[in-house]
Amino acid sequence: MTRLSVKELETYLNRCVRCGQCRSVCPVFGVIRREGAAPRGKVYLAHEMLHARIPLSAEAEKHLSLCLGCMACSRECPTGIPVHEIVYLARSRLAAAVPAPARNLLYTRIWTSPSLLSGAVSLARLLQAGNLLGPRLTSHLPRNLLNTAALQRPARSMLGEVYQPPGPAVANITYYIGCGTNFLFPGLARQAVSVLTSLGCRVKVSKDTACCGLPHLAAGLPETAAGLLERNLAALTTAGADAVVTDCATCYSTLAGDAGSSLRVLDLNQLILSLPVNPGRFKEVPPRRVTCHDPCHLSASGGTDWPRRLLASIPGLTLTEMTGSAGCCGGGGTFMLRHQEISDALLKQKISSLNATGADTVTTCCPACMLQLSRGNPGLSVIHPVQLMSIQL
């Protein structure tokens, strides 16, 4: 989680020659087609804000909210400008200047405390399950909040502390469960634990960790994000395992990016690939045609090969690549709630590429992508690759 200083920011902003190469890759610009939505436009805006030529206004905030944080522009920029970090920093200046008490309460008080967040989600779950909000209240909520997967009983409260492998342990693993898996896909956590133990891992479920902090960084709260990261890394280091594993590409990139030499953070696919697997241990799965969606954070971490290698090791699967597998699905955390139409347009593009493959299953390594893709085509099974492995057990 790099945090730019103002001096670094200025150097980067000066380096932008406005060549416009970022226009060719930005998903949001691809939908809106207005220069203000191009990464170049956001860098320009940040530059003008820094020099106080543009006020820190609600209009500027709205502009800078039009970024998914997919990093496609940062990877594309010929002069190496980390555009997404500039957007995050600009958002932090706006967050300090444009008051948003409700949002601040959510991000700094609730989303930083595992117990308060869990409580809040439980309440929301009851309201959602009992349909207790009523049409008048729900009409005020974002449509995409209502048509996504149902909140679940948190994985962290359902799982035990430690799981032992059937035989001698080949590795001692701490399982970091991020917010998405915890509240939306607890089944994934259960399946991950059974696959890992069956492969000989002793799995300790991390219960004293909080959100990885990326949502806070993206929301313009870098101090809160840094606090969470520091706390999580300290807790995970104290746990003293051989490695920390996460099923979420975003949590992975956040934790692995800042973990020191004493802490080894691995993506779940990456960990499984490193374990000795007895080929006879797994059953063949019924024939399935699978395609792979690459989460932005996995692409940025250079890990798109990991799920593919894992899938290749599972007999019975046919992997068909889709066009633009690394193209953003339009989820982008809270982006899908704030900018529903853009998010829906990107999802539509993604689903059409998915459908063109004829696949019945799409795998992805990010619960946020799973959430987004699940609402795109009800006939499609959207799962993490490890869930296909668990079928073999």
Partner: protein, 475 residues
């Protein structure tokens, strides 16, 4: 004129969704890649997104009736301030209008709207075995409307020529809103010498004569094979004779690029793994294309000719190795800023074109000018046609450096004219090079002004471009 009134009227003409809203949004149309746009704040009064010839015509009629300047804009990737409304008024962002209307394979041509991205057209043509040969470095983002308006090209111009060689006809909305089709109203012929050549008048006219709304492009068969030859020279003076000897050997490569020692140093600072030889004063890169047998023969011939003077020559037809040889050239634009930490490359004085026989002389003199003004410069470009891209590297916050860079680029432009060349080979004039028009064109500028006055007597089409300030005002 009140910008709210202009915006309201445009909304009535085009519908609210085709007119830009929000104060802040308009600022994003104040720039292109030019340093001039960066130093100024050319915020337009209104930005419109027409998506039909009729809509463009209606906007022009409105602008004509009310004397409002109109600046057509593509992707805004130009380096001349050409698509920036330096006199205010309306910017027409044509980039979202990106329909490929037709690929007429039988007649080897395509009909495209101005917003089609260059790379998208060529991707689309791949399955037809055809291509549109000009290849600007900005292929993935620039629009064909912008390419035609600036008559742009790229490294393959040495063999395939520039955009003008492929424009068969245009649909143009004139400043008063009248719509004409050049190159024959219903013509699908490849050759046509009937009438005055209006197609070529509008090609490269940089939006000062009208708005291009449809382009009929000539397509070529896609070559099946490619080869790359890299040659390193201890002395810069050995590079140009090598290029001339290749031509005399009966070979026309599809590209001939040069990196001088400043470019070599910048690439090595940016990406040490490239490990370009620092003892070399120049690296030449030749690209050949055609059928596999001719590529093989031409590659061997060029390697042998280059070998007479070069300290190292390598050539390849395998994709991965070709990319390896090309690496230095692909990195140089981004690498330029590394010559001076905390600084950036600026787009100014970056596009002169000199006679082939004087390329080495031009490079030496640009280097000397850089030293005299205390400005770091990186030189690279299309040596095959004498087109040199100079990248001055400065700290844009430092006023003294900005002033010295301005003097440097002025001298680079005058050097080009003195050497019998042009101030711009492929980027265009825009607002940044108009001051050299009289010196470059002499009395021909008066004829250009007559054409401008005849078509745009109110001077509403992209004012402040091509023609020097005082003379442009008299339009």
């Amino acid at each position: 004129m009140d910008k709210n009134w202009i915006q309201d009227r445009l909304k009535q003409i085009l519908g609210p969704e085709r007119v830009l809203a929000g104060e802040l949004n308009h600022r994003m149309y104040s720039y292109d890649s030019s340093f001039l746009a960066r130093l100024n704040n050319y915020i337009p009064d209104a930005v419109a997104f027409p998506a039909s010839t009729g809509q463009v015509a209606e906007v022009m009629k409105f602008a004509w009736a009310n004397n409002i300047p109109v600046t057509p804009r593509g992707a805004g990737t130009g380096e001349t301030c050409g698509c920036v409304a330096v006199r205010g008024g309306i910017v027409l962002d044509l980039s979202p209008w990106d329909k490929i209307e037709e690929v007429d394979t039988a007649n080897m041509q395509a009909l495209v709207r101005p917003g089609v991205i260059h790379a998208s057209l060529n991707e689309h043509l791949e399955s037809h075995g055809l291509f549109f040969p000009p290849d600007p470095g900005s292929s993935r983002m620039c629009t064909l409307g912008g390419m035609v308006a600036n008559n742009s090209s790229g490294l393959r111009a040495v063999k395939y020529g520039t955009t003008e060689h492929y424009v068969l006809g245009l649909e143009v909305v004139l400043p008063d809103g009248e719509v004409i089709i050049t190159g024959g109203a219903a013509c699908r012929a490849i050759k046509n010498v009937s009438g005055l050549n209006l197609t070529q008048l509008f090609t490269g006219s940089e939006g000062v004569l009208g708005v291009i709304t449809l382009i009929r492009l000539r397509l070529w068969p896609r070559p099946g094979a490619r080869g790359m030859i890299m040659a390193q020279f201890r002395r810069l003076a050995d590079a140009t004779p090598t290029v001339l000897e290749v031509y005399r050997g009966g070979i026309l490569p599809s590209g001939v690029e040069i990196l001088d020692d400043s470019a070599i140093r910048a690439v090595n600072l940016y990406y040490p793994e490239a490990a370009l030889p620092e003892e070399a004063e120049a690296i030449l890169l030749f690209e050949v294309d055609g059928n596999p047998a001719s590529v093989q023969w031409e590659g061997e011939q060029i390697a042998a000719i280059a070998g007479r003077r070069a300290i190292r020559v390598e050539w390849a037809t395998e994709k991965g190795r070709m990319a390896g040889l090309w690496q230095g050239r692909s990195l140089v634009a981004a690498a330029a800023a590394r010559l001076q930490p905390g600084s950036t490359r600026i787009f100014a004085g970056e596009d002169i074109c000199v006679p082939l026989s004087r390329v080495a002389e031009a490079l030496e003199q640009i280097k000397a000018l850089g030293q005299r003004h205390g400005i770091a410069v990186v030189n690279f470009g299309h040596i095959g046609d004498g087109n040199i891209h100079t990248a001055p590297v400065i700290d844009p916050r430092d006023r003294d450096q900005v002033a010295r860079a301005a003097r440097l680029v002025d001298e680079i432009h005058r050097l080009a004219i003195r050497l019998g060349g042009s101030t711009t080979g492929e980027h265009g004039v825009g607002a940044v090079r108009s001051c050299y028009a009289r010196e470059e064109h002499g009395a021909a500028l008066d004829t250009m002004l007559k054409v401008k006055r005849a078509l745009d007597p109110k001077n509403i089409m992209n004012p402040g471009k091509i023609f020097p300030g005082s003379e442009g005002e008299q339009v």
